[in-house]
Subunit: 312 residues, 2 copies
Amino acid sequence: MSITVVGSVAFDAVKTPFGERERMLGGAATHFALAASFFDQVHVVGRVGADFSDADLDVVATRGTSIADIERVPDGKTFFWVGEYGWDLNSRETLDTQLNVFEDFQPRLSESSRDCDVLFLANIQPELQLGVLEQCGQVQFVAMDSMNLWIDIARPALEEVIRRVDCLMLNDAELRQLTARPSIVSAARDVLELGPTVVVVKQGEYGAALITEDQFFALPAYPLERVVDPTGAGDTFAGGFVGYLARHRDKPFTQPVVRLAMAYGTALASFNVEEFGTERVERLSAAEVDGRVEELRRITQFEHTLAPLETS
Amino acid sequence: MSITVVGSVAFDAVKTPFGERERMLGGAATHFALAASFFDQVHVVGRVGADFSDADLDVVATRGTSIADIERVPDGKTFFWVGEYGWDLNSRETLDTQLNVFEDFQPRLSESSRDCDVLFLANIQPELQLGVLEQCGQVQFVAMDSMNLWIDIARPALEEVIRRVDCLMLNDAELRQLTARPSIVSAARDVLELGPTVVVVKQGEYGAALITEDQFFALPAYPLERVVDPTGAGDTFAGGFVGYLARHRDKPFTQPVVRLAMAYGTALASFNVEEFGTERVERLSAAEVDGRVEELRRITQFEHTLAPLETS
């Protein structure tokens, strides 16, 4: 009973209007694992360099996550991303991307990682995602992320991965680019025709939407007075969403479960952005997450109890 | 018992990826009235030219709206706006703005218009909004809109209007510009300190949020497979929101009322964008509006019924 995530484990240098970090722990698999570890046993498959310390590994291992499949390359350097956010944190610029040991990453999953119930393919080359799928024969549920780069330069492989997963998670601009459809509803329908049963559209500070053949569900983001660093919010959301589905895998696509999965993803992402990198989610408690899900419910629900327009 | 709206009654020329109209009925007061007229008697205060036909006036008068305070200038031309939307309808460019008779618009309210319970100051020069406020001494509830132009060139007058209204409705970029705060929550708190009791943040295709001293509420937009023309969506939203509050003015700021007001605004705006200009809302029925509010409830609600993380 476990979740495997394959993706980047990295260092980030980030500058936001609220401060900066010259080197902090990051990477899609790291953020995903820190969130998903609230729900189930997580295995991280990744590759780091000699500069990645035992203390860094300890953070990835928070809440019992297995780091056995993180290869540490003795003479290599860890993937390093440098970015800067604009004033309202809605725009970000990548200043530098040093792939380092990630350039030759060829995910090799141990038996424990292959033996997962749920697999998350974080944003890496579609060819590598396909390779992981081939190693995981028995997995019950596969979710994936991707990015504009792969839509641009590796579309056939990307479409092949999409055909083989259960859930595609993209931000709204990527989904529009992938499908050439301006409406996210129509765009999601195109994706569902390829194979997935669920499309999750991440909308950053505005929230997220979930679309299946017969359901639509949308949640605004949790309102914050101060967002310090949005890096990793999408992967933290994915960790909460996929983690919640994994925990309730006896009834994974019933309406209460997918909606609460969206709520847990939203709550976790909101904590992630309150501090730099992994700083907030590292020390987060289950009670805090539950509390924010309940608050999110409180600020989004309404009853249609008053007289309707037509009859009054 | 009535709602007065003061603002533009206009013609628009619009090009979207789904077609174009060389001249269609538009203007903030028109869109507002078409939505608000579902809830209460509406009075429109505006100014048009000789090119504005009786048939155009008949549309503004849909559902009993009074057009007695729309002045028709015999030798003048009606305000004309020309715009074009980008592929995903999130960006729009103003190609031409011909103020025409609107340039010398000095709102003069008849006794019936002054005698309203609820007043909506659509987006016009803040000085004119102040003039209207001075004519309406007894009004119970005043809501207002504005735009980036007035923040740029008429900030002192704009702030004076904001101090004197109950509700400020702006889009998120305008609210950020007004307050120089990146977070809409913090930005709204700054506005509440000036005087209003409610701030409504319009977020276009993403929905809307409402902030008071002790409440936050957010709703995603109603999902549509095809958005044809977003022109007037914000004013239609305002008409639904303000209209609903006017109808329930015995308990205007209780939680069920403001939340349903947000839902009615959202539902009405979603109809507005399905066709060009006023075409869809003109022939809309109360039952259709109620139906979409109920659907909106269905796709945004979740129960926190499963075991919380902490105890399971």
